[in-house]
């Protein structure tokens, strides 16, 4: 369900001019500490590459 919803949301974001990559769903189980840390690290890197969100830029301006 969440997966479906996220897919839909990504479309919606695209529509709103926001890179869909800015929304990320990851399954991490209770036993997967390293996977969590890695996921966050990767996601932060990705967002850094994308730069500030268009909406954030707009707000700042």
């Amino acid at each position: 369900m969440t997966t479906k919803r996220v897919a839909f949301l990504k479309e919606l974001l695209k529509f709103a001019g926001i890179e869909p990559e800015r929304l990320h769903l990851r399954w991490v189980s209770a036993a997967e500490g390293p996977r969590f840390a890695q996921s966050i690290t990767e996601f932060v890197e990705k967002i850094k590459k994308l730069g500030p969100s268009p909406l954030a830029v707009k707000r700042a301006a």
Partner: protein, 68 residues
């Protein structure tokens, strides 16, 4: 705002039973990761509604992470 100095603000919706626990375990294991996320604890990733995500972007976050 230069590319290098850019510190994104990211919201993480984490499921209490899975990703939140995984995040705790990362802490217990002292794994280091970037300090850019701010966590909203939810009881299940299924409870993260589109409203929440859109609201976050509307407020100007640079990314939304859903940990199920």
């Amino acid at each position: 705002m230069s590319e290098n100095g850019f510190q994104p603000k990211i919201i993480a919706f984490l499921c209490n039973w899975c990703a939140y626990a995984g995040a705790d375990l990362a802490g217990v294991s002292r794994l280091q990761y970037p300090p850019n996320t701010r966590t909203v604890r939810v009881l299940c990733s299924a409870s993260v509604s589109p409203h929440h995500v859109l609201k976050a972007f509307q407020k100007g976050v640079d990314g939304v992470f859903i940990g199920g």
